[in-house]
Amino acid sequence: MKKVEIMNGMIKTLSRASVLIVIALFMGIFYFLIKNSQLSIHTFGLQFIHNQEWNPVLKIFGALGAIKGTLITSLIALLIAVPTSFGITMFILKVAPHSIQKALRISIDLLAGIPSIIYGMWGLYVFSPFVGQYIQPWMMHFFGDLPWIGHCFAGENYGMGLFTAGMVLGIMIIPFITSIMHDIFELVPNILVESVLSLGATTWESIWHVIIPYGRIGFAGGVMLGLGRAIGETMAVSFVIGNAHTMTTALFAPANSMTSSIANEFTEATYELYSSALVELGLILFVITAIVVFLSNFLLKLTKNQHGP
């Protein structure tokens, strides 16, 4: 009897202690972020989010440029990754011969493991010259004269900037989103799909009319997870984004993201206001990530509750 209680108690205590440690660490991160950004918050207040001027020499810091950079690159990444991932999933599950389905799935999962620094190096040495030479001029030629969005395609042919960063980011999160979509595709009860097919629907129609509506919440959750991943990415982005604190919507001009600002400038921040401003960027990043994670979990949970045992 005694031994049981001791062992039970030990396991419970250790587990509970671990949980408390984890929560304490999390609170610690939050506390550290808030504490070290105090100076910046007091100095700039809400202006920090509205101001686009980030000038370390004049000691004026405004995060708008970095925030927009993060959002635009993530948006581009999603625009590229979501349809492509959907296409890949469709390909693996519906088009590819059954024998190689597993191999394809495994290779996608393997590709998800490539560390982001590799994407950064590849982006810098291989991809951005490619974009600068072939893709950018074409896009500028094609879209440059359109009335509203035309000015988005201004900028020079250097292959660096929001566009390239967004593309590298998109390629990076493709395996991730594909994996999630794959799981959701498989979550749809086969009976529904087969019954539609037996009524004469084409494969595409079974996807469009059954799988997508059935799994739409899950897809949304997966997209949000991908968004969270894209927002927090450091290495892949900082190599190719051009690293300029400007407030421009030109896609091909160099820009900055929150993570690349922190990575590039934290060790250089020799005075307190500078590092405080960078920590405040980190705080904003943390909060945005938390919101995105929360939303995506919420959506994914809805899917599971809706349809699963």
């Binding site: 980030w54 370390p56 020499v57 020079e156 292959g159 190599f239 690293n243 590039n264 060790t267 250089e268």
Partner: protein
């Protein structure tokens, strides 16, 4: 199984009781090749490890002020006020060139002349094309292409940027007012490459680009056109070891914040960067061994390291400055009174 792991961990931690002395420093990437070569040779002879990591001048300054490092290297000197508030001692070790390069198709590997007026106007955006008459006038024997000038600067903070912006501020009051000096500034034009590597890559891929690099990043295979600058003596000079040495001779501890940027003196290269070392003024007992060791290392380096410095393209600090450096070392205060840095460099 768990016990085995724990035992291994305990052994690992205790393995280090007789490990050799490790002295950790970090900072500018400019002098990194020299420091790493010196430390390697020194380790083979004396079994003391000098671990130097290139994290940038700003990183070095910040970490030494927090005392997370034993020493730091910086390309941007600290002012007397900063030295006092961080309680640091500063001395120069190496000199090297910051080089301006341009990508001019058809003119590969030819040097072009730019004087102060033109240079500052380029970077202030007032001269926007290589075919501008003023540039052509300085280079009568070369046909300059009609290409827009694209400025490439550093995106990350850098001592190299500090040297270049200091120079621009000295030759142009407008630059000093509008942009200023710093390891990281708000450039009115152009865009930033990440690290010297990024700048070199950009300049290489953009025809008409101009950028500034640490001397080591100018590779022949990139076919950059070097820029000759006009020094204070009025001569058009290329960055070479001798022009850097000519600038180095002008170094003066009293004028440390100016370094040897745009120095007087014949044959001197205007964009000469000085690489400094920062060490604390006061040393706690626990670090006694470390700083004696560091001192011996620099004594050794100044005595035997000349060849390596030259080999890697740098210039060592002149003899008369070295004497002043040893004087500064002697001012270090240890926790135990009456303890001083041991040894005599001669």
């Amino acid at each position: 199984m768990l016990y085995k792991i724990l035992t291994c961990i305990v052994i690992l931690f205790s393995l280090n009781s007789h490990a050799s002395l490790l002295i950790t420093g970090a900072g500018a990437s400019f002098p990194a090749p020299v420091y790493s070569k010196w430390s390697e040779k020194y380790y083979l002879q004396h079994h003391i490890k000098i671990n130097y990591q290139a994290i940038g001048s700003g990183g070095g300054i910040k970490q030494i002020s927090l005392r997370t490092l034993d020493f730091a290297a910086t390309d941007k000197p600290l002012s007397a006020k900063e030295l006092e508030s961080f309680k640091l001692i500063q001395f120069p070790v190496l000199f090297g060139a910051v080089v301006l390069v341009a990508n001019l198709p058809g003119l590969t590997s030819q040097a072009i002349n730019l004087n102060n007026q033109i240079l500052k106007n380029i970077f202030l955006g007032k001269i926007q094309n290589w075919s501008d008459k003023k540039i052509q006038a300085l280079n009568p024997s070369i046909k300059l292409p009609t290409l827009p000038i694209t400025i490439v600067h550093r995106a990350d903070g850098s001592g190299t940027t500090y040297v270049f912006t200091k120079y621009l501020s000295q030759i142009s009051p407008e630059w000093a007012n509008r942009v200023g000096v710093g390891m990281s500034v708000k450039w009115p034009f152009g865009f930033g490459g990440k690290s010297n590597d990024g700048v070199a890559l950009y300049v290489k891929s953009i025809p008409g680009a101009i950028g500034y690099l640490e001397q080591n990043y100018v590779e022949k295979k990139n076919n950059f056109s070097l820029v000759r600058l006009q020094n204070k003596a009025g001569e058009f000079i290329l960055p070479t070891k001798s022009s850097v040495a000519a600038a180095a001779r002008q170094f003066n501890f009293k004028n440390i914040s100016a370094g040897v940027i745009n120095p007087p003196g014949r044959q001197a290269w205007p964009l000469t960067a000085t690489s400094y070392i920062l060490i604390p003024q006061a040393i706690p007992d626990t670090k006694h061994e470390i700083y004696q060791g560091l001192y011996q290392f620099f004594v050794w380096a100044f005595k035997y390291g000349q060849d390596d410095v030259s080999h890697l393209g740098f210039v060592m600090v002149p003899q008369k400055i070295q004497d002043e450096i040893w004087l500064r070392w002697k001012t270090i205060q240890f926790q135990q009174p009456k303890t001083r840095i041991l040894g005599n460099p001669r």
